[in-house]
Structure formats: structure tokens, C-alpha cells
């Protein structure tokens, strides 16, 4: 049976600044840009704004082309982050 830990045990445990929050300017740019573009490739945008055939772009349906552009942009963010050492 597990027991609740004592205040002493809790006190001795080290704590770290959250790794979920970027700590550098480049980290912030990469994270925010990725999340914004990723959100654009998800519902509700996919099922409302992008869900149309026309205008076609380079001969391909609008929905397909816009998402292809967003996916390439996301890959671009990852490569940028790698090159900047994020």
C-alpha cells in the first residue's frame, strides 16, 4: 500500500524550472511559430476556412495545397530550430 509522502521527503527533492517553457529567444520563436502553424493545420480551420476546392493552386485543390504549404512550413520551422541550435 502506497503511503503519502512526508513533508521532509518533499522538502529534500530538488525542483527545476519547467522544461515546458522556452528559455531563449530562439526557443520562443520556434515554439510559438510551430504551434501557430500547427493550429492552422487542425480543426476548426481544416473544416471551415480551408475546406473548399477553389481557387486551385498550381492546378491542385485549395484544401490540399494550403495544407501542403502548412506542412512544409512546419518542417521549415524544425530545420530552422536545428540550425539555430534550439
Amino acid at each position: 500500500m502506497e503511503t503519502p509522502e512526508t513533508p521532509e521527503a518533499r522538502k529534500g527533492r530538488p525542483t527545476y524550472r519547467s522544461h515546458l517553457i522556452p528559455r531563449t529567444r530562439d526557443g520562443w520563436i520556434a515554439t510559438v511559430t510551430f504551434l501557430v502553424i500547427f493550429a492552422l493545420a487542425m480543426p476548426p480551420f481544416t473544416h471551415t476556412v480551408w475546406d473548399r476546392l477553389y481557387p486551385t493552386i498550381l492546378g491542385m485543390p485549395f484544401f490540399y495545397s494550403v495544407l501542403l504549404f502548412l506542412y512544409l512550413a512546419l518542417i521549415g520551422v524544425l530545420i530552422w530550430a536545428y540550425r539555430r541550435g534550439v
Binding site: E2, T3, P4, E5, A9, R10, G12, R13, P14, T15, Y16, R17, S18, H19, L20, R23, F34, F38, A41, M42, P43, P44, T46, H47, D51, R52, L53, T56, G59, M60, P61, F63, Y64, L67, L68, L70, Y71, L74, I75, L78, I79, A81, Y82
Partner: protein
Amino acid sequence: MQPWVIATSVIFVYLVLSLWLGLVANRRMTINLEDFLLYGRKAGFILLYLTVVATYHSAFAFLGSGGFFYANGIGFWAAGTWTVLVGAITYVIGTRVWALGKAFGYITPADMLADFYESEAVRVSVAVVSVLFTILYIQAQAQGLGYIITVASGGHISYPVGTLILLVVAVSYLMAGGLRAVYWTDALQGVWMYLAVWIGALFLAYKLFGGPLALWHAVETKAPALLSVPGPKGLFTPGMWIGMTVTLSFGVVFQPQMMIRWYTAVDAKTMKLLGATTPIYLMTLYIPTALIGLGGAIVLPHLAVPDQIFPDLLTRYAPAWLAGIILAGATAAAMSTLDSILHANMTVLTRDVYQRYIRPGRSDAHYVWVGRAIVFVLLGAAYGLSMYSNPFLVTLVTLSGSGALQLMPAILGVCFPGKRVLSRAGVVAGLAASMVTLYETLVVHPMLLGIHGGIWGLFVNFAVAVVVSKFTEQPSADTVRRVHGELERFVYGTEE
């Protein structure tokens, strides 16, 4: 010579090549557990890249995705979101898993989680979830192999015989050369399958429509419903889009065959470059499958089994030698995933079960031979499972992805230091609750309230893990300092 003989012969040439690579790997192998299970942690970028993408893309990419575009339309282009996410997860989480594996000698995902949460219950739970859900993946790959060989041979090689031949080849090179053989064959398979699907799609697009743009135009005019979401059958609702994005990204990369690959990278730079560039291969593979599925819906409507659209188009419209090369690519897609899963299950069962609880303290040579015996048993299991038919490979993959996805709270707890830490009881309780939830929301009430079962499972998992952790003992200060301190140094170069 009859077309089926030519097509089948090309596939057999590919199989002989794979076996040869396995034998060469065997000669280079040393009797050492890290070499047999982890390629000695020396995988460079190109080899690691090809094995990761070949393992990720399976019979599902070749057969399931084309079938999905065929039956449900452009909604499957959501595939871009989960393939890009796989890169981001590898970049952020994969590098951390690699760093901890290198620092503390982890071999399996359970090694890492059991060490941090200081719990054998966590080790056993993770090993069970890992094996249980990847067995579903084995079934999907083995069935894909059966379909391919049956279609290529025009029915002259039966489904049970064809499946057995291909499984025996995969198991043979795995037993001979361990992960080295798997990596080398994956490299061949990764290149072959990518070229095959692109060449096949472009050939069919030009032959049947006059080019890809003409194909798009034909779909626009003859079947516009296929170019809109949620698609003609209403499948790709927002809930399904989000559910597939999460389960086929986090759910696949947390499967043991993918996490074990992270441990094998030669350095951190390789891991980051891997994360930044894998989506290029993974995402662009779905461009030709969209052409195949959507074009196929115009040329061959009303197919009983949508997954067979690509092989059906090839056998009808491509010369036999080309169909053979492309179907060998499909075989490569299925085998590269299958051998990796077999290897991962072997690793988990050898390391987390046999070495830990049954015969600890034996020589590396002993464990290598036990690993080979386990692979032989898995061959029997894979063959037995492959005899249960299910036309929608992708559904099986989604089921297995939902299972591995449930490791997410535990993995994030290790990889992301912060103020709150999960406890061993919280992790086990969360996993148990998520399994019950998965059964309810994937099998009993699928898409409950329009939300994918994997998401329901994850939500319950997180909630239970956090609440139980609040009232139970968390990992010791020493362990938190050792593991999270290592991550703090690795990521930021600072101390606590």
C-alpha cells in the same frame, strides 16, 4: 513468361537481397547484448534516418493510406499533421530519451520508466502494454504481406503460404544479425519503398489521366465529394482528425520499436537532425498515395476492399516487371516495420522479463540465444494472428497507437523536469484506468461524443495519474536529482 511469374520473381530477388544483408550483418556482429539489441549505440544519421522512416511507414502507408483516400477522400491528408508531429516529438522528447539512455545504460522504454519511478510494477506494466499493443501491429503487417504476395502472384501463391514465406525471411535475418541486420535491411527497404510508391503513382497518373494535374482535375469534376471533409462517408470529422493526429504521432513514437531506435543514435546532433528531417520523408510519402487512392476512385470505383486499390491498379495497368518492383516496395514497407516490432518485442521480453525475473546474471551470449528463441516463438504468434482477416489495416494501426499513447504521462514525467513529479502508484493507476477507458471508447462506444478513444484514454490517464500522485510517495530526491539533473545539464548546460 507469364506476368505473375515476373512480378513474383522480382519480389523474391528483393527477399534474397534482404537475407544476404542479414548474413553479412551476422558476420559483423559481436556476441554482446548492446550490439544485438541496440546496434552498439553507434547508429549514424543516414542509417538511423532510413530505419526510423521505414519502421514508421508500414503496410499501412502503402495499402491502408491509398485505401483511405479511395474510400474517404482528401481527409486522409491529415496525415501531414501526424508525420510532422513525429519529427517534433523526436526533436524534443527523443533527444532527452537518448541522453538518459546514454547516461544510465537504458535498453528498453521500461528501463527508463522503472528507474525513474523506482518501481518494478511500472516496469511490468510498461512491458505488458508495449507487447500487447504492438502485437496488433504485427497482425497488420503480416496481413499486408499476405495481400501483396497474393495479388503479385495472381493468386498462384496462396495467402497462408505467401505470409509464411515472408515472415520466415524477416525472422531469419533478424535472428542472424540482430538489430544490425534490421537496420541494414531497413535502409534498403526505406529507399526501395519510397521510390516504388512515387514511381508507381506517377506511372499510373500519366498512364490513366495524362499526369498528376489532370488526375486532380478529373477528381474535381467527377467526384468532388472526395475533395472535401469529412468525406463521402463522413469519417473525417474534427474529432477523428484530432484523434488520428495524436494517436498516430505520440501513439506510434512511444511504441518500443521507435523508442529503442532513439537509444541507438551515435550522438545528440544526430537525434536533433533526425527530428528536424524525418517529416520530409514521412509526409511526402502520402503525396503519391493520395494520387493513387483518389485516381483509383475514378478508374476503379466500387472495390470491395479499398486497401487493394494500389496492387489492383498495378496488375491491371502496369507492365509485370514494374508491378513486381513496386510490389516489392510494398513488401519492404511491411517487412521493415514487422522486423522492427519483432525485434522490439524480443528486446522487451529478453531484457524486461527474462533477464530481470527468470535468469538474471547470465552471460550476454546466453541472452542473445534466448532472444533468438523468443523471435522464433513470435514468428508463430505473428503467423497465427495474420490468419485473422480485417480489411482495414489502418483501423488496426489506430488501435495499437492508442495503446502505446497511454505511456505519455509517464514518459513526460521523466523527460520534463518541473515542480510536480508523478508517483509510481500514479503512473500504474493511470495506465490501468486508461486501459479500461480504451476498451469502453474504442470497442464498446467508438467515437464517444465525437472524440477518439485514444484521447479519452489519455484524458483519464492524466487525470488519474495526477490525482493519485498527489496522495502517494513520489520518486526519491536522489533519483529525481540524478535523472532530472542529467536532463537539466543536457538541455541547458546548467545545474538545478
